[in-house]
């Protein structure tokens, strides 16, 4: 019956609108790993990590910092440089839906990726990637940074990146 059809179409349209609405406060992590902090500052203590592609719900914004809830229910501040409004699809052999969706969806591993690097390394055998790999292993924790500043009597003038 026509009425049922109208009701169904209407319900579908409303559901779609609701989904889009609730999605507007969602962002995705666009870096390998980032930290949620207790305060909107690079000196804020670390609440926990979020990783590439993870969806977070935005609560409020202060300067360059965004207060978010992670998918694992962690709550904290993250610098906006770690986030994108696109949905990052970590494709486990998956497919992007279509090019028209690229405004909303970023497919991880697209374009210049590990395969391209491997091919490049094959073509340029003598280039020293081993040193770069080693370089990337050095990671300094937030606590190490704080003690480094303390020991050197370096006194941050602001609460960090605004």
């Amino acid at each position: 019956m026509a009425l049922t059809r109208i009701v169904l179409v209407l319900a579908f349209v409303l559901a779609l609108a609701a989904a889009t609405w609730s999605d507007s406060g969602m962002m995705s992590v666009q870096v390998k790993e980032a930290q949620l902090r207790s305060t909107p500052s690079f000196l804020g203590s670390v609440v926990g990590p979020v990783s590439y592609g993870e969806r977070v719900e935005t609560v409020q914004k202060q300067g360059d910092w965004i207060d978010v809830k992670s998918s694992k229910n962690l709550r904290g501040w993250i610098h906006q440089s770690a986030l994108t409004s696109k949905q990052v699809v970590l494709s486990a052999g998956g497919q992007a839906k279509s090019a028209a969706n690229d405004k909303e969806v970023a497919l991880a591993g697209k374009g210049f990726n590990a395969d391209v690097e491997a091919q490049y390394r094959k073509n340029n055998g003598r280039i020293d990637f081993a040193s770069v790999d080693r370089m990337e292993t050095v990671r300094i924790s937030g606590d190490q940074m704080i003690s480094f500043l303390d020991e050197g009597k370096v006194r941050p003038s602001e609460g960090g990146s605004k």
Binding site: I6, W21, V31, K32, A99, G111, N113, V116, F129, M135
Partner: protein, 305 residues
């Protein structure tokens, strides 16, 4: 009025409401668009362009995702360390990373795909390179030019500001990006066929050459160098280092660099011009002496460099 009549009245109202409601959602996305604009990240286009049909996946360097920037940066850094061997001094490299990663956290772009990492190059030349995404390489000659931790912090902050501004990516020729974005846009699958992979690699090689030759041979424009100096002053202030150290460092460079030399002199504007630009930014404050604790640890790591 029967149910059907009621519906025929309600329906247009609902659609009107939806029409009002949906643009709201688009306007709301402005919040994230501002974010993308600042990070220079993966977001294409200005706010409100949502209605435009998007076929091409991107147009300029700003459409390079942080993940792709990471792979470009790795290859650029690999090229630099192939020319200047890395220093095996682990103790100094650890100190360099502690200082550098702390400074990077206070920048406008603390989070890049793979994070910031620092390495000293075993060369007496005076030079420093920022590969896209956060791989920063500083020569021993440059480190030895620094008399204080604040001076080294000034050098590193300048390089961090180049990464923050995505200056390296700006040197990639547009024609290469167009080719890359076309391949990316047409090929939906994550893994590429041999033809696409070979074409993408060719574009990748060209892009690496563009960035590497800018870093090592031609240098950035004066505008980008000023942007990096300005960014450096901000980072130094936030962390609590003396921005006057940047002027001290530039003065030292002015003394040491030989005009027509093959290092920093070739790829950077005259230090005198940079000093003239930086001085008003720091309010002409003269350099302050470092606290003894800071100076002691700095001199300690410089032993047997």
């Amino acid at each position: 009025m029967n149910l059907r009549q009621k519906f025929s009245r309600v329906l247009p109202v609902v659609f009107l409401a939806l029409l009002l409601f949906l643009p709201c959602e688009i306007a709301n996305s402005g919040f994230s668009d501002i974010v993308g604009g600042v990070t220079g990240g993966a977001l294409p286009g200005p706010v409100g362009s949502a209605a435009k049909a998007v076929i091409a996946i991107g147009k300029s360097f700003q459409d390079i995702t942080p993940e792709q920037e990471y792979y470009i940066g790795r290859a650029v850094a690999a090229n630099v360390v192939s020319k200047y061997p890395p220093s095996p001094n682990d103790r100094f490299n650890m100190y360099l990373n502690t200082l550098g990663q702390t400074l990077a956290q206070a920048s406008d772009r603390p989070d890049t795909f793979g994070g910031y990492h620092f390495l000293m190059l075993d060369s007496p030349e005076i030079n420093a390179f920022a590969a896209p995404g956060g791989l920063i390489l500083v020569t021993r000659g440059m480190v030895q030019l620094c008399r204080t931790e604040d001076a080294l912090a000034a050098v590193l902050s300048h390089e961090i500001a180049h990464i923050q501004g995505m200056h390296g990516l700006k040197s990639i020729k547009n024609s290469r990006l167009t080719t890359a974005f076309t391949i990316i846009g047409t090929e939906a699958a994550k893994s590429y066929g041999p033809a696409q992979l070979s074409k993408l690699t060719e574009v990748f090689e060209g892009s690496i050459t563009d960035v590497t030759s800018t870093l090592m041979t031609s240098g950035y424009s004066r505008d980008l160098e000023q942007e990096a100096d300005k960014g450096a002053v901000t980072i130094l202030r936030r962390v609590g280092y003396d921005p006057g150290a940047l002027v001290v460092m530039l003065t030292e460079m002015k003394k040491q660099l030989k005009p027509g030399g093959l290092d920093f002199a070739k790829t950077h504007p005259d230090p005198k011009d940079r000093i003239d630009y930086v001085k008003p930014l720091i309010g002409n404050a003269s350099a302050k002496p470092s606290p003894p604790e800071r100076q002691r640890r700095f001199e300690a790591v410089l032993i047997n460099l």
